[in-house]
C-alpha cells in the first residue's frame, strides 16, 4: 500500500498538474489578467445567474402546425385540380377533424385526381405524409399521417430556430445560445442582456404578413356581428390602429403572402411623416404583387399581420417596382421591430415564452463576491480544524484540498461545463466533504496506533481499512449527484456538476495523493512514533 515506484509517482503528479494547469485560464480571467493567446485556454463558463443575462424558454403549439399544413394542402389541392389537363372539377374543399375532403363533380375523374395527388400524398421525404381514401367512389378524403405530422412539426421547429437566431443576431447581442430542446421547445440564452422585453417582443411576433382584397360587398352590420360572406373571412384591426375595435371582411383567396421578401426596413413616409416599413419582394412575389395591384386599381386591400389588420389602403395605381410600403400606426420602435421580423422571415409556428430567468450583471457580480468570500472563510475554517486535529496529516490534507479545488476547476473547464450560483455552494460542500476521507483514514491510523501497531503498519491499515467506507460513500453520493444532473435543470444542474466532478477529484487528492506524500515522508524519516 505504501509502495510508490517512481513511474507511479510521475504519473500521479502528471495527472494532478495537468488538471490543475487547466484551471489557470479561468483563474486568470476571474482576476482580470489576460491569458496568453498562444496557449490553449479551456475556461469555465459562468452561468447566467453569475454572469448576468437572460434565459428564455420558448414553446410552440404543434396543433398549430397541423392547422397550417391543412391550409397549405387545401390550396395545393385546389390549384392542382384546377391546373390539371383537362381541368378536374371539384366541389368545395371541406376541412374537419384535421381531415380534408372534396367531392369530384364527375366520378370518372377519380383515377386522374388520385394520380395527380400522389406526389403530395407521398411527400418528398422518406415518410408518407397523407392517407388518401375514397368514399362512395366520388369523395376524396385526405388524412394526415402521424409520421408526416411529426416530420412537419420537426421541420417547423428547425426553421423556427433559424428564424429566432436571425432575429436575435439582428439585435446585435453578443454570443447568444439558441438550442432546440425536446420536440417543441427552443432555449435562448443571451449573456449580458438585462432587459429582455425587446427580445421577447421580437420572438413573440410570428410576422406572418398577408395582403388581401377587402370584400366591399360585405354588409357592415354582418361584419360587425362577425358573420363573413361566402368566400370571405373577418379580421380585426390591431389595437394601435385608429380603427381598433372594428373589423373588416376580406376575400379568402387571391391575396398574396409576404413570405417572399428580399428586404424590409423601417422608414418615414414622405407624404405624412408616419413611421412605415418598406418591403421589397423577390422577383416572383413582385410579379404577383404587380398583378394584384394592376387588376384591382381603386379598390382597398388589407395588410394583415399575424391575423390582425394593420391598415387597409386604397390601391391608387398599379405598384410595379416590386416594393411596397406598409403603414399601420407604428412607432419608430415597432416599425423597426417589424422590419427585423420580416427580414428574418415569418415564424412557421407561434412561439410562447413559458419560462424566463433574467439576472442583472450587478446581482451576478455581487453573488460571485459574496460566494467567494464565504468559500475562502469556510476553507480556512476547514484547514484550521484539520491541522489542529491531525497535525502533519492535516497539512497533507490541506495541500490535497488545494489541488482538489484546482483540479475541479480544471476538469470543469476541460469538460466545458458551466459554473452557476448553486455550483459555488457545491464547491463549499465539496471542500467540507473532501476532507472526510482524510478524517476516516487518520482516525483509523489513530485507532491502529492505539492498539499497538507499528507506525508503518498502522498507516498501511488505516488507508486500507478506511478505503472501503470512502468508496462506498462516494458511490452513493455519485448516484445522488447523477440523478440531480439527470432531473435538474439550469443552475441546479451546475450544482450537480461540481458535486460529481468533486467526488472524483476528492478521492484522487484526499486518498491517493495524500498516501503518496505520507509514504514518501515515512520512507525518508522512518519515525518510530507519529503525532496523530
Amino acid at each position: 500500500m505504501l509502495d510508490f515506484p517512481s513511474w507511479k509517482k510521475a504519473w500521479l503528479w502528471a495527472v494532478t498538474l495537468i488538471a490543475a494547469l487547466a484551471a489557470l485560464p479561468s483563474i486568470f480571467a476571474a482576476s482580470g489578467y489576460d491569458w496568453p493567446q498562444t496557449l490553449p485556454d479551456p475556461e469555465v463558463n459562468l452561468g447566467l445567474d453569475l454572469a448576468g443575462g437572460s434565459h428564455i424558454l420558448l414553446e410552440a403549439e404543434p396543433a398549430q402546425v397541423a392547422v397550417q399544413r391543412l391550409e397549405n394542402m387545401e390550396e395545393s389541392v385546389r390549384s392542382l385540380m384546377a391546373n390539371a389537363e383537362p381541368r378536374i372539377r371539384i366541389g368545395d374543399v371541406a376541412t374537419n377533424n384535421g381531415n380534408l375532403s372534396f367531392l369530384l363533380d364527375d366520378s370518372s375523374d377519380l383515377d386522374r385526381a388520385r394520380e395527380d395527388l400522389m406526389p403530395l400524398v407521398n411527400g418528398t421525404g422518406l415518410v408518407r405524409e397523407w392517407d388518401l381514401t375514397v368514399v362512395d367512389g366520388q369523395r376524396v378524403v385526405l388524412t394526415p399521417t402521424e409520421d408526416g405530422l411529426e416530420t412537419a412539426v420537426s421541420q417547423a421547429m428547425e426553421s423556427a430556430t433559424e428564424v429566432v437566431r436571425k432575429r436575435i443576431d439582428a439585435l446585435g447581442t453578443r454570443e447568444p445560445t439558441i438550442i432546440r430542446q425536446g420536440d417543441t421547445r427552443i432555449v435562448v440564452q443571451v449573456p449580458g442582456l438585462q432587459d429582455p422585453d425587446q427580445l421577447k417582443d421580437l420572438l413573440g411576433q410570428t410576422a406572418k404578413l398577408e395582403f388581401k382584397l377587402v370584400d366591399q360587398n360585405a354588409l357592415p352590420s354582418n361584419v360587425a356581428a362577425g358573420i363573413a360572406p361566402p368566400g370571405s373571412q373577418i379580421f380585426p384591426y390591431v389595437d394601435d390602429s385608429p380603427f381598433a375595435g372594428t373589423s373588416l371582411a376580406v376575400r379568402r383567396l387571391g391575396g398574396i403572402r409576404g413570405d417572399s421578401l428580399t428586404g424590409a426596413s423601417a422608414g418615414i413616409s414622405p407624404q405624412n411623416n408616419e413611421n412605415v416599413v418598406n418591403i421589397q419582394f423577390d422577383t416572383q412575389g413582385g410579379a404577383k404583387f404587380a398583378k394584384l395591384t394592376t387588376e384591382n386599381v381603386n379598390k382597398p386591400f388589407a395588410i394583415i399581420l399575424d391575423g390582425e389588420i394593420l391598415s387597409a389602403p386604397n390601391i391608387d395605381e398599379p405598384i410595379l417596382g416590386g416594393g411596397a410600403q406598409i403603414s399601420g400606426s407604428f412607432t419608430a420602435e415597432s416599425a423597426n421591430q417589424l422590419a427585423i421580423s420580416l427580414r428574418s422571415g415569418a415564424l412557421p409556428v407561434d412561439l410562447t415564452v413559458i419560462e424566463e430567468r433574467t439576472v442583472g450583471p450587478d446581482l451576478g457580480a455581487d453573488s460571485i463576491r459574496k460566494g467567494m468570500l464565504a468559500l475562502m472563510i469556510g476553507s480556512i475554517a476547514v484547514i484550521v480544524l484539520m491541522i489542529a486535529s491531525y497535525g502533519r496529516f492535516g497539512v497533507y490534507s490541506t495541500i490535497a484540498l488545494f489541488f482538489n479545488v484546482l483540479m475541479i476547476l480544471g476538469l470543469m473547464a476541460a469538460l466545458n461545463t458551466t459554473l452557476t450560483l448553486p455550483g459555488i455552494a457545491g464547491f463549499v460542500l465539496t471542500i467540507g466533504a473532501a476532507v472526510d476521507a482524510n478524517v476516516l483514514i487518520n482516525e483509523r491510523i489513530r485507532e491502529e496506533r492505539k492498539r499497538g501497531r507499528r507506525v508503518i503498519a498502522a498507516v498501511e491499515t488505516g488507508y486500507k481499512e478506511a478505503s472501503r467506507a470512502i468508496y462506498d460513500a462516494n458511490i452513493t453520493n455519485l448516484i445522488a449527484g447523477a440523478l440531480l444532473f439527470l432531473f435538474g435543470s439550469g443552475p441546479v444542474r451546475g450544482f450537480a456538476v461540481v458535486l460529481v466532478v468533486g467526488l472524483f477529484t476528492s478521492v484522487f487528492t484526499a486518498v491517493i495523493l495524500t498516501r503518496m506524500w505520507v509514504a514518501g515522508w515515512l520512507r525518508k524519516t522512518r519515525p518510530n512514533d507519529i503525532n496523530i
Binding site: 445567474d49 424558454l57 414553446e59 438585462q194 429582455p196 422585453d197 421577447k200 410562447t352 415564452v353 413559458i354 419560462e355 424566463e356 430567468r357 433574467t358 439576472v359 442583472g360 446581482l363 453573488s367 459574496k370 460566494g371 468570500l373 464565504a374 468559500l375 469556510g378 475554517a381 476547514v382 480544524l385 484539520m386 486535529s389 497535525g391 448553486p422 459555488i424 455552494a425 463549499v428 460542500l429 467540507g432 466533504a433 476532507v435 472526510d436 478524517v439 476516516l440 482516525e443 485507532e447 481499512e465 467506507a469 462506498d472 460513500a473 452513493t476 453520493n477 448516484i479 445522488a480 440523478l483 440531480l484 432531473f487 435543470s489 443552475p491 450544482f495 458535486l499 503525532n531 496523530i532
Partner: protein, 326 residues
C-alpha cells in the same frame, strides 16, 4: 504539539439504551412532518408554483417603498396576493406572485404578468433597476414538480439498493428508512417555517441523501467488521461499540462540513440561503439518524453475525473433515 481530540479516547456512551424512546420520537416527528406537509403544505417558490419573482433595486432611494409597491402591484389585475419583501440591502426588494390556479393551463399568462409588473415598477420609479426576473408558466412548473418527486424517489431507492448489494438487505432497508426519515423531517421543517421551497431545495435534499449516508456507511462498515470479529457479542452491545468506535469520525466529518457551510449561510449570496439552510439542517438530522435510526433498526430486522459468514458448502465440509482426520 498537542492535537485536538473532540471525542476522547475510549468514549463509551450507551447510545442504544434509549433507542426505543428516541425511535418513537423519530417516528412521531416523521408523522408530524407529513401531517404538516399535507395540511399546511409547502411554500412553493416560482419553480414549483409558477408565477414570477422579480428582484429590483431602487438606485436613488435609501429604502425601497415597499408599502407603496404593495399597493401598485396589488392593484394590477390578477395580481392576487403579492409577497413583497426586502431582499438584501434596504433599497432592494423581491416581488413574488404565484400563478393563480386557473392560469395553470395558459402558457402565456406568466410572461404577460411579468411584463405588467415590470412596467408598473418602471412607471412610478425612474430609478428602479430590475436585477432579476424568474417567470415560470404552469406547464414548466408542473414538469419541475414531477421531476423533483422522481429524482428524490429514484435517489433514495438507488442508494438503498447499492447498500443492500454492498452489505445485506437489512442494512439497505435501514439506510432507506434513515433517508426517508431525513427527507421527511427536512420537508416538515420547510412546511413548519414556510420557507420558500424551490428547485434549489431539491438539490439540497439530494445532497443530504448523499451526505447522510456517508455517516451511515461509516457506522455500518464498522458494524460489519465487528460482527465478524466478535461473533458471540450481544447485538445491542456490538452496535453500541461500533457507534462509539466511529463517533470521532461522525463528529469530525459533520463538523468539517458545518464549518465550511456556516460562512456561506451567514455572508453568502441571499439567493443561496434556502439551499444552504436545508443542507445545514439536513446535516444535523442525518448525523442523528445514522446513530439512532439506521443502527437500531438492524436489531429489529434481525442482523446476526452469520449474515456475513458464507454458509459452508458441501465441498468445504468435506475439506474440513479431511483436514481434521490428518
Amino acid at each position: 504539539m498537542k492535537l485536538l481530540k473532540l471525542v476522547p479516547d475510549d468514549t463509551n456512551i450507551k447510545f442504544l439504551k434509549v433507542r426505543w424512546p428516541l425511535f418513537i420520537i423519530s417516528v412521531l416527528l416523521m408523522i408530524g412532518s407529513w401531517a404538516l406537509v399535507l395540511t399546511q403544505g409547502l411554500n412553493y417558490g416560482v419553480d414549483f408554483a409558477g408565477g414570477q419573482e422579480i428582484r429590483a433595486t431602487f438606485t436613488q432611494t435609501e429604502e425601497a417603498p415597499i408599502a407603496e409597491l404593495r399597493e401598485t402591484v396589488g392593484a394590477l389585475p390578477n395580481a392576487g396576493d403579492p409577497v413583497i419583501q426586502r431582499f438584501g440591502a434596504a433599497n432592494e426588494v423581491s416581488i413574488r406572485i404565484k400563478l393563480p390556479s386557473e392560469a395553470e393551463g395558459d402558457p402565456e399568462y406568466a410572461a404577460e404578468m411579468t411584463r405588467q409588473i415590470t412596467d408598473a415598477l418602471r412607471d412610478g420609479h425612474p430609478d428602479v433597476r430590475i436585477d432579476g426576473v424568474d417567470s415560470v408558466s404552469g406547464k414548466v412548473s408542473g414538469e419541475f414538480r414531477q421531476d423533483a418527486v422522481l429524482a428524490l424517489l429514484a435517489a433514495m431507492l438507488a442508494v438503498a439498493i447499492y447498500i443492500w448489494i454492498r452489505f445485506e438487505w437489512q442494512f439497505g432497508a435501514g439506510a432507506l428508512f434513515a433517508l426517508f426519515h431525513d427527507v421527511s423531517i427536512t420537508l416538515g421543517l420547510f412546511s413548519l417555517f414556510q420557507w420558500e421551497f424551490s428547485l434549489q431545495i431539491i438539490a439540497a435534499i439530494l445532497a443530504i441523501i448523499g451526505y447522510s449516508l456517508n455517516d451511515t456507511i461509516v457506522v455500518y462498515d464498522r458494524i460489519r467488521e465487528n460482527l465478524k470479529k466478535y461473533r458471540k457479542m450481544h447485538l445491542p452491545d456490538l452496535l453500541n461499540l461500533s457507534i462509539n468506535e466511529t463517533l470521532a469520525r461522525t463528529v469530525m466529518t459533520s463538523l468539517t462540513l458545518l464549518v465550511a457551510l456556516l460562512p456561506l449561510l451567514f455572508i453568502g449570496p441571499e439567493s443561496l440561503f434556502g439551499l444552504v439552510i436545508a443542507i445545514t439542517m439536513g446535516l444535523f438530522i442525518g448525523t442523528y439518524s445514522s446513530i439512532y435510526t439506521a443502527a437500531p433498526i438492524l436489531i429489529w430486522l434481525g442482523v446476526t453475525s452469520n449474515s456475513f459468514v458464507p454458509e459452508e458448502t458441501e465441498a468445504d465440509k468435506q475439506e474440513r473433515k479431511a483436514r481434521s482426520q490428518t
